[in-house]
């Protein structure tokens, strides 16, 4: 077996040194009647070539985003990733290292986490960011728990513009923890009055911008209303590239910012692994979940970095910890950091502009198609299209014409009566030809 270095002779010699007659003597604590006598009913080992063949056949049954005109978003976005990003994250020293518990020999990881934290804090215009969460949705659930700790209240109010999966993920944790969660109904036109729902029991208000339907939301009035009632404003975004062009949540008064960082440096991967961005105000840092890298000095006086404020964490605090989280999303955070470093603020702004321009172009083209309507008053690189029938059926028809047209709202919110809505994303990858193909496939599908 190509991954197992011991030879049979070595195994025998080692058993002799240990002083046992056979390998099963080392498994003697397993009750005899529970020891497996036969191999599991599964195939035997395969060569590298055979595995490649089998996996390749599975992969070939999927339609890859890069192979067709592609417009799916709703929380995960196809962007171009510079070749150097994937090259660097595959370096052994990053790929095959562990959580940096021994900082003397993990400065590489610790320093990029410190850079990552600084980038996220600046991007969101918040005071402090952690070393990443599993993804945006789990970060959102953690943010609500954090707000409950800070405010000592237990009711969250969730906007109807929040990604339905984020709502469900957060609701699951809230229900299990015995907290209250009030979710406003899906709000396609960003017209809900969330301020009216805030009261003295409200711990936090969760608002996404751009929201799941693509609308941009002004958080400033909501932040003011939260402040008046002693509640925290949790701002969510799922498209990090938007921050290159739209007002950052920190500038609109958010207390906690949660974002999905996949868009920068990370592939679609059918939903994971991704990287959650999490930032807050200095005064709340000790209530923050997740790992934090901090600057310090070593015994020679050199600057160095360590994991810090770990007294919040489970391995020290056990049942009193701020969260049960044990890892971050290290390698995905590295991909984010490298891509962000390559872009810089200027590159991000340029990239965001192209994204926005492409979405505007498609929206303008769709304005000329009868029987469909772009619902949004504002958007960044994604908008919602009202279609004459079921959007899910339309998407299947357009897929048959070689275009992956977007995400039907019914896929995310199946019982909300929004079956005619389609969420359509445009990024820098989409060309004029792609958009022409979209319009043609749409018209073809609508005609039949």
């Amino acid at each position: 077996m190509r991954y197992l270095p011991l030879t049979q002779q070595e195994r025998a010699d080692m058993l002799a040194r240990i002083g046992v007659a056979g390998i099963d003597d080392l498994f003697a604590d397993i009750p005899k009647e529970k020891l497996l006598t036969a191999l599991p009913d599964l195939p035997r080992r395969k060569s590298e070539m055979e595995v490649e063949r089998l996996m390749g056949a599975l992969a070939a049954r999927n339609v890859a985003a890069g192979g067709v005109p592609f417009f799916c978003g709703a929380g995960a976005y196809k962007h171009h990733i510079p070749a150097s990003v994937d090259h660097i994250i595959q370096r052994s020293e990053f790929l095959t290292s562990y959580t940096p518990y021994q900082p003397e020999i993990a400065q590489g990881t610790l320093q990029y986490l410190f850079e990552f934290q600084t980038q996220v804090a600046r991007l969101t215009q918040m005071d402090v960011a952690n070393a990443s969460m599993y993804d945006g949705s789990t970060g959102c659930a953690e943010a609500v728990l954090m707000a409950h700790r800070v405010t000592r209240r237990r009711k969250a109010i969730v906007s109807g513009g929040l990604h339905p999966h984020y709502v469900e993920t957060t609701r699951t944790v809230s229900d299990m923890a015995g907290d209250a969660l009030v979710a406003l109904p899906p709000d396609v036109r960003a017209s809900e009055d969330i301020i009216a729902a805030i009261d003295k029991d409200t711990s936090c208000v969760v608002v996404q911008t751009p929201d799941v339907f693509g609308n941009l939301r002004d958080l400033a009035p909501i932040a003011a209303a939260c402040q008046a009632q002693g509640a925290l404003l949790i701002a969510v975004f799922t498209e990090a590239v938007s921050l290159g062009l739209v007002k950052p949540p920190g500038a609109m008064g958010a207390d906690i910012v949660v974002g999905e960082g996949q868009s920068i440096g990370n592939a679609l991967n059918f939903g994971g692994p991704y990287v959650g961005l999490f930032a807050t105000r200095d005064k709340y840092v000790r209530q923050m979940p997740g790992r934090l890298a901090g600057e310090t000095v070593d015994a020679r006086g050199q600057r160095g970095f360590v994991l810090t404020l770990s007294t919040r964490e489970q391995h020290i605090r056990r049942e009193k910890a701020t969260s049960n989280i044990c890892t971050n999303s290290g390698l995905c955070a590295l991909a984010f950091t490298i891509h962000m470093t390559l872009l810089g603020g200027r590159g991000l702004a340029e990239l965001a502009r192209v994204n926005h321009a492409n979405a505007v172009k498609l929206a303008e083209a769709l304005a000329r198609v009868p029987n469909v309507e772009v619902v949004n008053r504002s958007f960044f690189n994604e908008f919602t299209l009202r279609t004459p029938g079921e959007a899910a059926t339309l998407v299947e028809k357009m897929a048959a014409r070689g275009v992956l047209a977007g995400v039907p709202v019914s896929r995310l919110a199946p019982n909300a009566g929004l079956d005619d809505l389609l969420i359509v994303a445009n990024t820098e990858i989409n060309t004029d030809d792609d958009r022409a193909a979209f319009v043609a496939a749409l018209q073809g599908a609508l005609a039949r």
Binding site: L4, L6, M176, T296, R300, T341, R353
Partner: protein, 518 residues
């Protein structure tokens, strides 16, 4: 001094012994932060400006570009390559971190995960265009169920601790369904458990009741029975446990737990010791997470991403969270809508860590049933070989008896030497090794938990053991003084963690003088 603690005057440091002008030591760079040399007007990505268009941002356009420095590609590549050289890694050496399972990460798995048919597919594109991905998830599920002897699997948890949360949520949902939510509020957790266990139980409103282990490091069924009652919802038991021992009374414990109307959650962090040898389902387990990044070798990546699918017994299967796979025709379909199911909820957006499923599945196919069993046996053999090679110099808290995939020593052999487990661990760094897990499990004083994994050759183990023996002998001969200040040859000496926590500096700021310059 500049921000990196480097001299700004030529000739100031070059004459001092062992100091260099750059602060570098040959291959090892003294690398600044990107904020100290990047420029806000530089970008390493060429983007063509779009033609004229009418913005649709409403009144929410930002003013100016984000305040972030950029680097061109050659600068960025050099920066991150230089950083990488300050990291230890499995590829560079033995990484004996107990409980963490730092085994070799086959590169084939990386290659497979990057096939466009896996990496470049969207979680919400039509299922009809992702049949291969669903088939892979189905086959991975089949392997996990076959290896564990369980009835159902929830693939979506994103890490081990997230899997624990999923498993305990399934248990809570089952208890709620039985109408016993008010009554059963306690979860039993042995003292030796990972900190994530009590943290998870507490997160969803359970009270934690500790169960003491016996003098041999094992949990007694009798002790569990004593702690059980009508108020108990579950036990969380790690098996093999964090001392590297198989819980001999696990079957009796499971029976007692079930008799009391509670559930058995197994922490599967150490499943890699028993794959192909025994099945958790046969031992009475109701829920167990599997760390794909441990047992099935997806890379640890400097602290994630992991993946923590949870296998469930028939008693809990119905409560598995969405999305899950359901047979449909001759294929499978994803069930994403909670309505009309008993699913307790959703763990995260989308379908979990697909990139990790691909790697883990490639690992399983490569090994096969025979290779997986051999891997477990070799992991256990290697750990015991280390035990046999060190047992005369190091002390074992529970006596000299076979261990599973990791061997545990304590610090009693260091008594009266003035040195601690930490000093020893740091001395190991100078010898070119990553230290073992230290001070865990908490129940053993000065614990040193060594997990070599099956990836190490006999020659590699021999050199490691000789190194361990040499360090121990130096201490016993009274030559351990230098260990107090070890490591001496690492990119950094010991770091001031107290200062980091008391005066937290969690991001770079331009105005504050750097600590090195003070």
């Amino acid at each position: 001094m500049n921000n990196q603690g480097r001299t700004t005057r030529i000739g100031e440091q070059a004459d001092a012994q062992h100091k260099t002008f750059t602060g570098a030591r040959a291959l090892e760079a003294n690398e600044p932060l990107i904020f100290e040399f990047g420029r806000n007007d530089v970008t390493g990505v060429d983007i063509d400006a779009p033609g004229a268009f009418t913005a649709r941002l409403g009144a929410l356009a930002r003013e100016g570009a984000p305040d972030l420095p950029g680097l061109t590609e050659p600068e960025a590549v050099r920066h991150y390559v230089r950083l990488s050289r300050m990291n230890y890694s499995i590829d560079a050496g033995l990484f004996p971190l107990g409980s963490c399972t730092m085994k070799h990460n086959p590169r084939l798995n990386e290659k497979m995960a990057r096939l466009p048919g896996f990496a470049d597919i969207h979680p919400l594109q039509p299922q009809s265009t992702a049949r291969g991905a669903l088939a892979l998830m189905d086959q991975l599920s089949h392997w996990l169920l076959e290896l564990t002897g369980m009835d159902a699997v929830a693939l979506t948890p994103k890490a081990g601790a997230h899997g624990e949360l999923c498993g305990m949520m399934a248990i809570k949902a089952a208890i709620v369904a039985r109408g016993e939510a008010e009554q059963r509020r306690v979860v039993l957790v042995p003292d030796s458990a990972h900190g994530t266990n009590p943290a998870t139980a507490a997160l969803i409103g359970f009270e934690v009741r500790a169960v003491p282990a016996g003098a041999d490091g094992l949990v007694r069924a009798e002790a569990v029975r004593a702690a059980l009652g009508p108020d108990v919802a579950a036990i969380m038991l790690t098996n093999p446990n964090t001392c590297g021992l198989f819980e001999r009374e696990v079957v009796a414990i499971a029976e007692a737990v079930h008799e009391a109307g509670a559930y058995f959650y197994a922490d599967g962090a150490n499943f890699n010791a028993i794959v192909g040898k025994t099945r958790p389902g046969d031992l009475g387990v109701d829920a167990m997470h599997i760390n794909l990044h441990k047992t099935f070798s997806t890379p640890h990546g400097g602290g994630g991403p992991g993946a923590g699918p949870v296998v469930l017994s028939g008693r809990l299967a119905a409560f598995a969270p969405v999305p899950f796979l359901r047979k449909e025709g001759d294929g499978v379909a994803l069930v994403e809508d909670r309505a009309a199911t008993q699913a307790f909820g959703r763990m995260s957006a989308f379908h979990g860590q697909m990139g990790m499923y691909v790697r883990a599945f490639a690992y399983m196919l490569s090994h096969g049933a025979d290779g997986l069993k051999q891997a477990s046996e070799d992991a256990v053999l290697n750990a015991n070989y280390i035990r046999a090679s060190l047992r005369d110099l190091f002390s074992q808290p529970f006596g000299d008896k076979p261990c599973m995939h990791e061997v545990l020593f304590d610090e009693s052999w260091l008594k009266d030497t003035g040195l601690s487990t930490l000093d020893f661990a740091k001395a190991l760094i100078d010898e070119g090794y990553h230290p073992m897990t230290v001070y865990f499990p908490l129940v053993v004083k000065g614990a040193m938990l060594i997990e070599p994994t099956e990836s190490e050759s006999k020659a590699s183990l021999d050199l490691f053991c000789m190194t361990m023996r040499d360090l121990a002998l130096r201490i016993k001969r009274g030559q351990g003084e230098p260990f107090h200040s070890a490591p001496h040859f690492a990119p950094r000496a010991r770091l001031d963690e107290t200062r980091a926590a008391r005066q937290p500096v969690l991001k770079w700021t331009a105005r504050k003088p750097s600590v090195a310059a003070q």
